[in-house]
């Protein structure tokens, strides 16, 4: 296999593995702020137990995110050196901001969250929780800004730097607020909120099914479900805005999303299988004119098709079509599950409905699927470009790296990630089976002991 394909496989593998964790941290971070806020407001010990338990999970997930995140940062240089030379000037400011504002904030205050319960005041602890949550979202801001610049470059010019072309920044804020960053950031963040919310829902539903930690689980579900309902509906809005943005900024990607070849009024497929040779969608069900309507507000307006682009400028159509449609379907399922659960909760039937609780237990995987599929749609949809219309992926590789070396590193990553994943599941399972520590019980035991000693 050639170095390009191997490097792409390695990048796809390492980013997909990394992206399991940050969305959980971001979503769980928001929930932790609510949980600990409830504790401070009500003084109810149960909220303290909830917060303490989820902080343990958060710490585990965060450690996984850091470990796999270092790999991502190094990989730009190791495997994509030409790309790094090309974008370094533009990404510089964003990365610096991410490192200084987000990473330090998050990791620094996390130590207080985990180890600081008995060492700082409750208010200081709550403040740290807010800082950690803020830090996790800020890191999303900067990395999505950098990625969005690759999708819709702005605020730069191309210069010749000693015989090599590179992009140099001309307007920092135009780079930050490039045409796709806000929509994509909102879309990514609400995906992350869903991921955190559904993790809490899943574990809590599991406790109810097992008839353990009842009070803990009910209160956790109420908090997480509010976020899930909000985020799943918000996702519909941000998803629509992203698609509308893509129609203007990256028409080839949108056309691939829908397998749309000839410029004409376009239908919206619910599902299908693209035959790239015959340029049509097989086995599909579509709503005629719906894509045109969603983009232009008019079912008769034409949408640009793939044939407007020369074949070497088109992304792989069927992969993008499938990942995009599966993402949308998963998003719809999440809305359905969230709203149905809310209705059952209001009727007081949720905690008796074994079926719904079981659905909630397995639904933890759905936002994860949607996140991965969303990134595949976004990144594969941008191909063959690594920076849209400026630099092709095949021209972005490291020149001094051989395919043998990439095979070596790919084997290393496979081994260490397998080990890491086993560790993650093992620890997560242990923490969930162990469940929350009941401090109310501990207090009772303590006062009993005190009474004995005083006698």
């Amino acid at each position: 296999m050639d170095t390009e394909l191997l490097s792409r496989i390695q990048f796809a593998f390492t980013i997909a593995f990394h992206y399991i964790y940050p969305p959980i941290s971001i979503g769980l971070g928001v929930l932790l702020v609510i949980m600990e806020g409830m504790f401070l407001k009500t003084g109810n010990k149960i909220y303290e137990n909830i917060t303490r338990f989820w902080i343990k999970i958060f710490a585990l997930v965060f450690a996984m995110g850091v470990a796999t995140g270092i790999v991502m940062e190094f990989e730009f240089g190791t495997n994509w050196a030409t790309y790094s030379r090309f974008v370094g000037d533009v990404f510089g400011s964003a990365l610096a901001a991410e490192g200084v504002f987000a990473f330090f904030l998050e990791s620094g205050f996390l130590a207080i969250l985990v180890f600081g319960w008995n060492r700082v005041s409750p208010k200081m602890h709550f403040f740290s929780t807010i800082m950690v949550s803020l830090g996790s979202m800020l890191s999303a801001v900067w990395i999505v800004v950098a990625n969005s610049w690759q999708q819709t470059p702005a605020g730069y010019h191309i210069i010749n730097n000693g015989g090599f072309l590179r992009a140099e920044i001309t307007d920092f804020w135009a780079m930050v607020f490039n045409p796709s960053s806000i929509d994509r950031l909102m879309h990514t963040l609400s995906g992350a909120w869903l991921t955190g919310a559904f993790l809490v829902l899943s574990v809590s539903a599991y406790y109810i099914l097992k008839n353990r930690h009842h009070d803990f689980a009910i209160k956790s579900i109420k908090i997480a479900l509010s976020l899930a309902v909000f985020a799943s509906l918000f996702q519909l809005f941000t998803g629509h805005r992203s698609a509308a943005g893509i129609s203007m900024n990256q028409p080839a990607k949108l056309a691939a999303f829908e397998g749309h070849y000839n410029t004409s009024p376009a239908p919206l497929y619910l599902f299908g299988w693209v035959n790239d040779k015959e340029q049509k969608v097989n086995f599909g069900i579509a709503i005629p004119g719906m894509l045109s309507y969603l983009i232009h507000g008019d079912t008769q307006k034409p949408v640009k098709g793939l044939n407007e682009f020369s074949p070497e400028d088109r992304p792989p159509v069927n992969l993008v079509f499938q990942s995009y449609h599966l993402m949308v379907a998963t998003g719809m399922a999440l809305i359905g599950i969230s709203i149905l659960s809310l209705l059952l909760l209001r009727k007081g039937a949720l905690f008796r409905s074994t079926l719904m609780l079981k659905v909630l237990v397995i639904s933890v995987l759905l936002p994860q699927f949607a996140n991965q599929l969303g990134w595949i749609s976004a990144e594969v949809g941008r191909q063959p470009w690594i920076v849209y219309n400026l630099l092709r992926t095949k021209d972005a590789l490291s020149k001094s790296v051989t395919s043998g070396e990439v095979i070596f590193s790919l084997v290393l990553f496979t081994l260490i990630y397998a080990l890491l994943f086993v560790l993650f599941i093992f620890l997560l399972d242990r923490k969930i089976k162990h469940g929350p520590d009941d401090t109310a019980d501990a207090d009772a035991v303590y006062s009993e002991h005190k009474a004995i000693f005083q006698k």
Binding site: S93, F104, L105, G108, A111, E405, L412, R430
Partner: protein
């Protein structure tokens, strides 16, 4: 002083912060197997428990800043040292796994296996970093296209290995001093013995590496000849090394720790003065070297990043200090421990 020089200094500061902070936790790892009982080993791991993760963030930020300020250096070195960086990533992750896994099962074999993993990976990380510094001093073969034309085997030359071993010795000494601060009783007495031994180990390495540098890479001394005042830094380095056994003898561990931190900082300053204005020396073709000017981002980016750093760094320093202060004192094993 132009922006390029400022960023040369700032990246130096980040890497120094990393070396001082992760240096002690890698050192604790390198010494880990000298602790005999399970309890002692738990003390050893938990002495760095709340902070090692945060310490590594300095590496992440240092790498990010290098990418941003000097993209050509980042691209050339990371792709050129491909195998070395992949091994580094592998052991960094493996070490984190070992810390997390170790105390999760009671079995003695299980714990011993992860203890060895933790210790060996700490040593390899320190060694690889030293080897990288050695190669920057010695120079690596670069072409006119800024690409690396050497091999992985070429990076493992005797001089770079010597710098690597010196780095391991330095971190061991630094880690031992840190452990003295964190332990008490009989264990603490034993750790004091380690401090003495590691100081001797480090001093031997340091003298050897200095001689090798003066003999084989005399160009490292050019700026010191030009500005004799810089020699004071070399004198300070010697004084701060000499001060460590003195403070330990007087029972002032924290001051000894400051002294070994100062030693790390001063050594990196000597290194920085030696290589300036090169970031990566090209050997044999010096004209292809990557300097702070031909490898840098645009002035506008360097300025934007400087604003970010000026706003952000006070926060970073203050919460680093706050967190280390909250966790100062002796290690206590409780339910949140590893």
């Amino acid at each position: 002083m132009d922006l390029n020089i400022i960023w040369f200094i700032l990246i130096g500061v980040l890497l120094t912060g990393y070396a001082i902070l992760d240096g002690f936790d890698l050192g604790v790892g390198a010494l880990h197997l000298l602790s005999k009982t399970d309890y002692e080993r738990r003390i050893s791991i938990n002495s760095i428990g709340p902070v090692w993760d945060g310490n590594e963030v300095w590496l992440v930020t240092g790498g990010g800043a290098l990418f941003a300020a000097f993209p050509d250096v980042y691209a050339t070195v990371f792709s050129g040292f491909y195998i070395a960086f992949m091994l580094l990533l592998f052991v960094l992750i493996f070490r984190a796994v070992a810390i997390e896994f170790r105390s999760k099962q009671e079995s003695g074999r299980w714990r011993t296996a992860w203890d060895i993993a933790f210790s060996v990976s700490s040593i390899i990380i320190a060694l690889l970093m030293g080897i990288a510094i050695g190669n920057i001093i010695a120079g690596i073969p670069l072409g006119a296209d800024k690409e690396f034309y050497g091999t992985f085997r070429g990076l493992l030359n005797p001089y770079s290995l010597l710098v690597g071993i010196t780095t391991v010795a330095l971190f061991m000494m630094h880690g031992a001093i840190y452990l003295v601060m964190k332990t008490e009783g009989e264990l603490q007495n034993r750790v004091r013995g380690w401090v003495n031994n590691t100081i001797i180990f480090f001093s031997i390495c340091f003298v050897t590496v200095t001689m090798a540098t003066l003999i084989y890479y005399p160009e490292m001394t050019a700026h010191f000849k030009e500005f004799p005042a810089f020699f004071l830094i070399a004198v300070l380095t010697m004084l701060s090394i000499a001060n460590i056994p003195r403070e330990i003898h007087l029972g002032r561990e924290f001051r000894a720790f400051l002294s070994s931190s100062a030693t790390i900082g001063l050594l990196l300053i000597l290194f920085a003065i030696g290589i300036f204005p090169n970031l990566v020396l090209s050997n044999p073709n010096h004209e292809y070297s990557l300097t702070i000017y031909n490898a840098a981002s645009s002035q506008k980016t360097l300025m934007t990043m400087l604003i970010v750093a000026v706003i952000g760094m006070p926060f970073v320093v203050s919460y680093t200090v706050i967190i280390h202060r909250i966790y100062k004192g002796k290690v206590r094993i409780d339910e949140t421990s590893y």
